[in-house]
């Protein structure tokens, strides 16, 4: 069963009289237990797709489903953990208080929150800073708090936007370990990232987007067998797509 199903999704942004197409007729699926990397240049439409999946942006046309439920249904988000791109969690709360808030919003009881919080803080490496105000934390530490809030409800699906943003090399290594551990637990993971080495080391499959269109969909195993590296493959595919578009427009 597809945990994520996107069918002919289009997202347009109106800008005065003109309209910008961020996602153009996009279709793909993510199966249970997979780790899928969502790649593309800046402005390729990754965040717009993720926003549409989470119900933050209304699709212009097409449809999307999480766990078989239409994304417009609140129930579709029941088993999802979401990390937005660089969120600045309340500067006047501590990570522990932040996690309690997101636990409550997820519908967890206080005893469940207490039980989960320490484990999640440990897992994301925030335990030593659990009781200091968020405003004293570094960007990387705030990103770890973001990851922690996404894990609070023991999600079956993790959707992570620019997950490695702000993380140092040790943070990125910890992230890889965390993502693999979450997959071991049974979670499905769908994330966007510009860190291709990280994508290559944890993903089963990648989707590459350019100008809102899906231009490649391959397994990492396949890429490893036929290409020098994911980076080479990514650059070649995106360049080819851009050249083709330029050719068409000419």
């Amino acid at each position: 069963m597809d945990i994520i199903r996107v069918e002919n999704l289009c997202v347009h942004y109106a800008n005065g009289r003109s309209s910008h197409c961020a996602v153009d007729n996009l279709s793909f699926g993510v199966r249970a237990g997979e780790i899928v990397g969502f790649l593309g240049n800046n402005g390729a439409g990754k965040s717009s797709t993720i926003k549409a999946l989470m119900g933050f942006q209304k699709p212009s046309s097409g449809s999307a489903f999480l766990f078989g439920e239409n994304i417009n249904a609140v129930a579709s988000r029941q088993r999802v953990g979401f990390l937005p791109e660089t969120a600045l969690y309340s500067p006047y709360l501590t990570p522990r208080e932040t996690l309690r808030q997101y636990g409550e919003l997820s519908g967890l009881s206080l005893s469940e929150i207490t039980a989960v919080t320490d484990a999640v803080l440990e897992k994301t490496g925030v335990r030593s800073k659990a009781d200091v105000l968020n405003r004293t934390l570094s960007k990387g530490m705030l990103q770890r708090v973001g990851l922690a809030q996404a894990l609070m409800n023991r999600p079956e699906l993790l959707i992570l936007d620019e997950v490695s943003s702000g993380l140092d090399p040790i943070g990125r290594r910890d992230l890889r370990t965390l993502l693999l551990a979450e997959r071991e637990r049974g979670a499905t993971i769908f994330f966007s990232s510009h860190q291709l080495s990280e994508v290559e080391s944890v993903c089963d499959r990648i989707l590459i987007l350019n100008h809102g269109r899906l231009i490649a969909e391959r397994t990492i195993k396949d890429i490893r067998a036929t290409e020098p590296s994911l980076e080479d493959y990514f650059v070649r595919v995106v360049s080819d797509s851009m050249s083709a578009e330029t050719g068409v427009s000419r």
Binding site: A75, F82, P84, L88, S90, Q101, Y102, N153
Partner: protein
């Protein structure tokens, strides 16, 4: 309903922590004490009969700071979440946008109400220490002020999903403070023009906020008897109805908004 209450509780708890850690509440309480005590210092120079002046100064400070802090809190709730991008993890939970808007408005109401109650308590204790007391009407003053805060919170949240944060604050604050003047002007104008104009003025009078209706400061400081219960009940119904109206508009506006 139960889920909305859970969301309200969570947002109120974190909102209160933020309000007190930002020190805004302490600042307004300190300023209120300063203004009240400042007015009382005139008695040190031999000026007598200043009871009404001191009470007026104290309640004016409480009213003004409640309006300021209420406008600030209500108009920043949702814009803060959007600018910090914390709205995404919040709305990624199984909660609807309507629940979120209502919870934010309730949180704004509770935070402002708590600041108001704290200011009022401090002022009452301070005045009591200076041997100045209020009559029974003071209880009605507190209740009606809380109703006004409810209106202010709903209106502020509506403005914040419609305008930019700074524009929302300015408009909310101006309409709250100037509502009395607007209403009086409209009442003076009605009956002067033709029926069509009168109809427009009547509509405007009904549509414009009437924050000043809830203000009984003058009656409290001059020691009036309590106002009839029917008036208090009518104003309570009006406050609930108008707050529900602004919240309905806010949820409608926010429902289809791209984030």
């Amino acid at each position: 309903m139960k889920q909305t209450l859970v969301i309200c509780k969570s947002l109120i708890r974190t909102g209160l922590l933020e309000t007190f850690r930002r020190k805004e509440a302490w600042v307004v309480i300190f300023l209120t004490i300063l203004m009240t005590f400042g007015a009382y210092t005139f008695t040190f120079f031999g000026v007598s009969g200043l009871d009404i002046f001191v009470k007026d100064m104290a309640l004016t400070a409480v009213g003004l700071f409640t309006t300021i802090i209420g406008s600030v809190i209500a108009t920043r709730q949702i814009p803060d979440d959007i600018s910090r991008r914390t709205i995404f993890p919040i709305l990624s939970r199984p909660i609807t946008r309507d629940q979120y808007v209502v919870a934010r408005a309730v949180a704004a109401f509770v935070m402002t109400a708590l600041c108001f109650v704290m200011m009022t308590t401090v002022v009452t204790l301070l005045l009591a220490a200076l041997k100045l007391t209020f009559g029974l009407i003071f209880l009605q003053y507190i209740w009606l002020k809380l109703m006004a805060v409810m209106w202010l919170s709903a209106f502020g949240v509506f403005l914040s999903v419609t305008l930019s944060q700074s524009a929302a604050f300015t408009l909310c604050f101006m309409l709250a403070l100037g509502s009395g003047a607007f209403s009086r002007t409209l009442l003076l104008t009605v009956g002067e023009g033709n029926p069509a104009v009168n109809w427009v003025i009547t509509f405007l009078y009904g549509f414009l906020p009437h924050y000043a209706l809830f203000d009984t400061t003058g009656k409290v400081i001059y020691g009036w008897k309590p106002i009839p219960a029917m008036v208090v009940v009518s104003l309570t119904i009006y406050a609930i109805t108008i707050s529900a109206f602004w919240l309905y508009l806010a949820t409608r506006k926010f429902r289809g908004q791209s984030l």
